[in-house]
Symmetry: C2
Subunit: 540 residues, 2 copies
Amino acid sequence: MPSGERRWNGWGRAGESFPVPAAARAWLAARLGEGDPLPAVDEAAIAVPPARRLPPLPVPVATDAATRLRHACGQSFPDLVALRTGRIEAFPDAVCTPADGDGVVALLRAAAAEGVVVIPRGGGTSVVGGVTVRRESRPVAVVSLAALHGLGELDRASLLATFGAGTLGPEVEDALAPHGLRLGHEPQSFEFSSVGGWVATRSAGQRSTGVGKIDDLLAAVEVATASGPWRIPAQPASAAGPDPRRLLLGSEGRFGVITAATLRVRPRPEAEDGEVVLLPGWSAGLDLCRAMLRRGLRLEVLRLSDPAETGFATALVEMSPLRSRVSRLLFGLPRYRRGCLLLLGWAGPAQEVTVARQEAARLWRAARGLGLGRSGWRRWRAERFRHPYLRDELLSLGWGVDTLETAAPWARLGTLSAAVPAAITDAAAALGVRAATLCHLSHAYRDGASLYFTFFWPLRRGEESAQWGALKAAATNALLAAGGTLSHHHGVGTMHAPWIGAELGAPGVAAFDALSRALDPAGTLNPAVIHPRPAGEGGA
Amino acid sequence: MPSGERRWNGWGRAGESFPVPAAARAWLAARLGEGDPLPAVDEAAIAVPPARRLPPLPVPVATDAATRLRHACGQSFPDLVALRTGRIEAFPDAVCTPADGDGVVALLRAAAAEGVVVIPRGGGTSVVGGVTVRRESRPVAVVSLAALHGLGELDRASLLATFGAGTLGPEVEDALAPHGLRLGHEPQSFEFSSVGGWVATRSAGQRSTGVGKIDDLLAAVEVATASGPWRIPAQPASAAGPDPRRLLLGSEGRFGVITAATLRVRPRPEAEDGEVVLLPGWSAGLDLCRAMLRRGLRLEVLRLSDPAETGFATALVEMSPLRSRVSRLLFGLPRYRRGCLLLLGWAGPAQEVTVARQEAARLWRAARGLGLGRSGWRRWRAERFRHPYLRDELLSLGWGVDTLETAAPWARLGTLSAAVPAAITDAAAALGVRAATLCHLSHAYRDGASLYFTFFWPLRRGEESAQWGALKAAATNALLAAGGTLSHHHGVGTMHAPWIGAELGAPGVAAFDALSRALDPAGTLNPAVIHPRPAGEGGA
């Protein structure tokens, strides 16, 4: 497990970084032109206002400026701009660190009685404003779940492992490994995101095509509410009314604070393998992925990059002059001029991995793919958690970058994958800048797949958040119009909240509000996410 | 698709039956002694009281006695006793047959405005009182969804098929077959149950170990509410708040009337295969099933019968004298004296079916199983939908029979499978009778499985429902105490409603009530199921 202090104003650990290779800088400069670097202010320059007086809370409470600063924001683009410029909308008045689930219940009781807003925080990695503190008339306490961590009960016969909500990804796998088990849930945020956060946001991991989303992995959950703990026991399946686990999945702290989760784990695989294939184009790639899923091919990792992402990914790799020449040669061939990289990964019994790889090869050869071997797979495995560091580097170079993601049935993916980049390009033009958008498919299902977009633009000083807001809104409108879901695994947070009605329909929003009022009558819990409480309700 | 009129007072079609073989009668008589036959009264002998006057409803309405009788009950044991004796608690005042989803919305609007209770009815096969009409101070309309049937949109690229809620199982498969597709959802009630009913009750099919429960197959759903239609579009997955589809799954008509569902279908399998294996005992059988799931073996059907069910199933088969001798010889061997039959089925690409069968054989041979070949599989395939007819025959012979089912993690299945028969035996003794309980495992998951119990007892005239109630309550208390879920695929209905608090916890019940009030403010919809509205609320 990596160690070192978390960076207070950006991704990951202080000291870690992902320097942008010259080729990638050139790739961006050619498409975007130069932007205005966004330097990061020193922590000392950030004026943290005094905390509002809080009623006594029955848990450990910190109110010092450094702790409050470190719990004010998540990892969204506006969060990063706020942290770099020091223009932070609001700070928590306190950061509470309960020792266990009972402590969280006691805290929620006191908060509900005293009119305190509570924002639950696991790893703090939300990229959609799910943990960002907003201006509130009531005092605000962030409840850090860091102390509720580690493996609790392990039912080896049933392959069920119970973790404290604050357990981070590497801790989960490190605790399971000595038992010959793994979870296999590896979101991009793996190193810093927590079990409770995964459940609260309906997270997906890079192996989700094989192991499923957290929705599929959650067997039991413990939730703190102001009226007491709510323990939903482990069941493999049930027909006893609507599944209460599914109310908590995606609830983003609005119905209670998840304090523990029992997850479906699996034996560590006997074998693991993977490779990279170059395909002639995006639409052939989509068809191939669809065919693999339709056929029920065993696959753990599936990722298809569009030509733009393929180009950028190639520019990100520091290559020897020889490899660089081979690469240019390859993409110079007429067949692969719009080439798309496909990443395939398998895990399981050795014989089955071999058979699955052979079956996949039959399909990709028929799609005129070119096998590039295992080295790309190994590089992806080694470097995949470093990519988020790029964002901070790019801001320093003058380029904004953000990601968004959706999912849709296969029949809509072609349109959707074209509509979002087009909307971003148009919105950028209206801002007087150029943008570039990358796309990849991941998390595939029999009936559809998730598309993930990364977009870049040149920053204009003082307009960073406004630029981002225009691009993000255009992309979101486009993806909803093309039949995509508002989010496949980032969640709603505050950022997607304006669109939740389009996603759920009026009865769905009414249902959400009714659940929030029933389970959090005082409106204590994370009130700005998903569908904010109407003004004047819940003590606001 | 079988044809012929539905039997008005029992399972299935008039004219169809499953005569009880002599060996099975002997098996029961030896264990239970003789009971009092429960003869069925003639339809003419049933006094259907006059319908209460209904306000004008904007859909076709029938109020004749024969139609009202045919929509008064489902297929629970108390329903059968009521229909056979003519002691029927209540009749609907009208049976409405809207032509489409808009008709259902119009009906719900009128019903909410006029204080009419609405009971949605698909195939009418609920065995837990989900469609049974109860005594109500308000007039009661059953809304039959029979006219909302057939295949609508078919998205072949995404493998998504939209069906009217009233579409029955055979219609689903018949509509898909010409496209080379299948759903594969085959509950015991397959011939008579409907798509909407499957969704409303979180149904599972006999192939669910391979194809999943209806929960996994539902991509989109259309629901009629009094405030308008609610259309939740098809998405392969999402993180946009709690999944609204999962609110409807298991809602049993309380939040709205499901009018259409889009289901995830799959290509028809290239090959299908199956076999029966005899295992030395129940606990070895459970371990073997667990090992197969843990290993991720491809399996479509998995059913393990305990020694009692194995004995009864053997007695149900009409055998030639030679086969009968072989069977006695087999079960006479010390190793198989407590033998358990295991049914295994596969479907998919031919090569994968072969490989999966070989892998399974390695495992069951190691568990000292004895392969009995494909004939048992073929017989199961041919006869499986005939078993429910047995119940009516047994009532005529003087024996009561009912089934109940649950699910739990693997670690609890041993205890659970012993606790339920013991509780039934004890409860029967308290009634002064003997009982016999069969058990099988089906619907297996990596973390657990469903257990299905069939129990028999000798009927005492006039006490049939009271006997049943005592046995059912004892079994339910035992399964909950042993950590099982209240139901794995039958649902809650009115029958399991007294226990719903134990299943969901107080916050879960509060959440359910809040949803019901938000989506059905007038308390129009099926108010007695899952968690009945408190008296005096919702116009009662």
